[in-house]
């Protein structure tokens, strides 16, 4: 029986960098438990002799020729930035005391 605790939900939300409200955490706890219970039916499939499939097509590592090509113009790359300080993207404080 799959059931995940409120602390599990908070931990996973932290890993996912996802802020959840208290209500969302409550709902997520119930819904994820229900979904995981359905998913856990895979447990009784015998896969002892089966390798994993990550992709259905067998592809070699694809490398392109090492040729320099123009990059996206800076103004184009910055066009969608929520915060910019030309010619840079601006981000909030990264380092803080105690982190």
């Amino acid at each position: 029986m799959a059931s995940i605790s409120r602390a599990d939900v908070e931990h996973v939300a932290h890993l996912a960098r996802l802020h959840l409200t208290d209500d969302e955490i409550d709902r997520m706890q119930t819904q994820l438990s229900n979904i995981l219970e359905a998913i856990e039916t895979l447990r009784d499939v015998d896969t002892s002799q089966v390798g994993p499939t990550a992709s259905v097509i067998q592809l070699e590592n694809v490398m392109r020729d090492d040729v320099a090509t123009p990059s996206m113009p800076r103004d184009v790359a910055l066009a969608n930035a929520p915060l910019r300080d030309d010619p840079f993207l601006r981000v909030p404080t990264v380092l803080e005391e105690g982190r």
Binding site: E24, T47, V56, P73
Partner: protein
């Protein structure tokens, strides 16, 4: 063609012939679509963005080319179409200012509201080369996660057949636009059924090509090992024409496969005599609506009359598909959606510390279903659960693929229902994620195995469309299309149109 059917409700094949014969112009076609959009699109909520002037300009350019010779091999020249708002469309000029006539890209999410892509998707480029006329971008479930289009941040789409019901999802705007005469074709994406299921629910044709057949470049990623692009059309022949234009190798998508693109329309012989078609018993699942089962079984019987051999086959791991999918797809999604961090583009919560800004931006920008899948995927990939969930699912994926390969070595194609039910009422399943997920029980195993699948209309149940699914071998879209086309010709449902098909 029957005179009663309005121009915009006809097929690409029909109006394309008229265009090339000089009986019709692309401008007239485009204006007719825009008029239908003006009449219905707001009510149905099909479009998220529209650029009428840019479309008319493209139509005029197509008309100039149509006036020249040598357009016979360009079946989409001058044909108006729509793109699911998951394909990026170039909307930034070289100096960084908004490109006139460029369409924004939202993926149905608030987190990308107002986003203007600096580059076009491979799909937009291919269809521009083909001379098709882009009308606008269609509504969809947020990041293509859903089976009803109710997960769009911009509201649900209504099904033209019955406006109280859903058009399917996640490509619900595309299915409704094609069913409702707002575009002659539309592209969608299919990760677990998001083309075939909405095609089934709206009485349109929808094909998910083999994984690797169509470039994913510029298609906003949901689950990278499952996503494929494909068209919605009003006939199988039209689907063959559009697929021919978008298929092919693209070095910008490292999973796109470098094999020649056949002439798909040439595969439509109308003849299925002697073909062996498998019917997997596991696809007639408990909970399937009896009306849907009856119509699908009648469709399968029709193939006997066409001279095909119907073979009872078994795909025993079918009922593991849902669980497998709901580990793999959310796991890949949780990684793909990590890029929405409020720094380079999209919504930013404006918090004054970076980590806080990440979590607040994502908390405010993503809707409930996307959050659920990010959480599910992150959980399945987290330390201590990776082997039990993610690796296990990949192992079962091997089993599912192997079973398909075994069956497809004894039959030419597989026939199955597309969806266990007809379109349901908006709101009916909105509070029950698991009930919603079951909509894709018959389609998602095909993504897990990476195979091509098409949904073709096979009649009505309670007055609502039902789709028959044809599944084929990898890169054998020709047989899939041939089988679906032969059925379409014989069945006589190709002229079924929703109540919106009035002039």
């Amino acid at each position: 063609m029957p005179d009663a059917l309005p121009l915009v409700d006809r097929t690409i094949d029909e109006v394309g012939s008229a265009l090339r014969a000089g009986e019709l112009t692309s401008r007239q076609l485009t204006e007719a679509c825009l008029a239908r959009i003006e009449r219905d699109a707001e009510r149905l909520n099909t479009f998220l963005s529209l650029e009428a002037d840019a479309a008319l300009e493209a139509a005029d350019a197509a008309d100039i080319e149509l006036a020249r010779d040598g357009t016979m091999d360009r079946p989409l020249l001058g044909i108006p179409y729509a793109l699911k708002d998951i394909f990026v469309t170039r909307a930034v000029d070289w100096d960084g200012s908004p490109l006139a006539g460029g369409l924004p890209t939202t993926a149905g999410s608030f987190i990308l509201e107002g986003y203007r892509s600096p580059y076009p998707s491979a799909a937009q480029e291919a269809l521009e080369r083909a001379g098709a006329v882009l009308l606008g971008k269609t509504n969809c479930d947020e990041f293509a996660m859903g089976s009803s289009n109710e997960n769009s941040a911009y509201g649900p789409v209504r099904n033209p057949w019955n406006e109280e019901t859903v058009p399917g999802g996640s490509s619900g705007g595309s299915s409704a636009a094609v069913a409702g005469g707002e575009a002659f074709f539309a592209l969608g994406t299919d990760t677990g059924g998001s083309i075939r299921q909405p095609a089934s629910l709206t009485g349109t044709v929808g094909i998910k090509p083999t994984y690797g057949r169509v470039s994913r470049f510029g298609m906003i990623a949901f689950a990278s090992s499952l996503d494929q692009a494909g068209p919605f059309t009003r006939s199988v022949r039209d689907a063959a024409l559009v697929l021919g234009a978008i298929a092919g190798h693209d070095p910008r998508d490292s999973t796109s496969v470098d094999i020649p693109v056949p002439d798909y329309a040439a595969a439509l012989t109308g003849d299925v005599k002697g073909l062996r078609l498998g019917v997997p018993r596991e696809y007639f699942v408990a909970g399937m609506e009896p009306g849907v089962e009856a119509v699908v079984r009648a469709g399968i019987d029709a193939f006997r009359e066409l001279g095909a051999e119907i073979v009872d086959v078994s795909l025993p791991s079918t009922d593991r598909g849902l669980a497998t999918y709901y580990i793999i797809a959310p796991a890949e999604a949780s990684a793909n959606l990590a890029r929405y961090d409020g720094v380079r583009y999209g919504l930013s919560a404006g918090a004054d510390e970076l980590w806080e800004n990440y979590t607040r931006t994502r908390g405010a920008g993503f809707g409930p279903e996307v959050k659920r899948r990010i959480m599910l995927g992150t959980y399945a990939l987290s330390a201590g659960y990776y082997d039990a969930y993610y690796v296990k699912a990949q192992q079962v994926r091997t089993l599912i693929k192997r079973e398909f390969d075994d069956v497809l070595s004894t039959v030419d194609a597989i026939l199955a229902p597309t969806s266990p039910n007809v379109a349901f009422r908006i709101g009916d399943k909105a509070d029950d994620p698991l009930a919603m997920y079951l909509n894709d029980a018959c389609t998602l195993p095909v993504n897990i195995a990476g195979l091509p699948g098409i949904s073709v209309p096979c009649g009505l149940s309670d007055g609502m469309p039902v789709g028959l699914q044809v599944i084929g071998r990898a890169f054998d879209e020709e047989t899939v299309l041939r089988v679906a086309d032969a059925y379409e010709r014989a069945a006589g449902f190709s002229l079924l149109r929703p109540p919106t098909a009035t002039a």
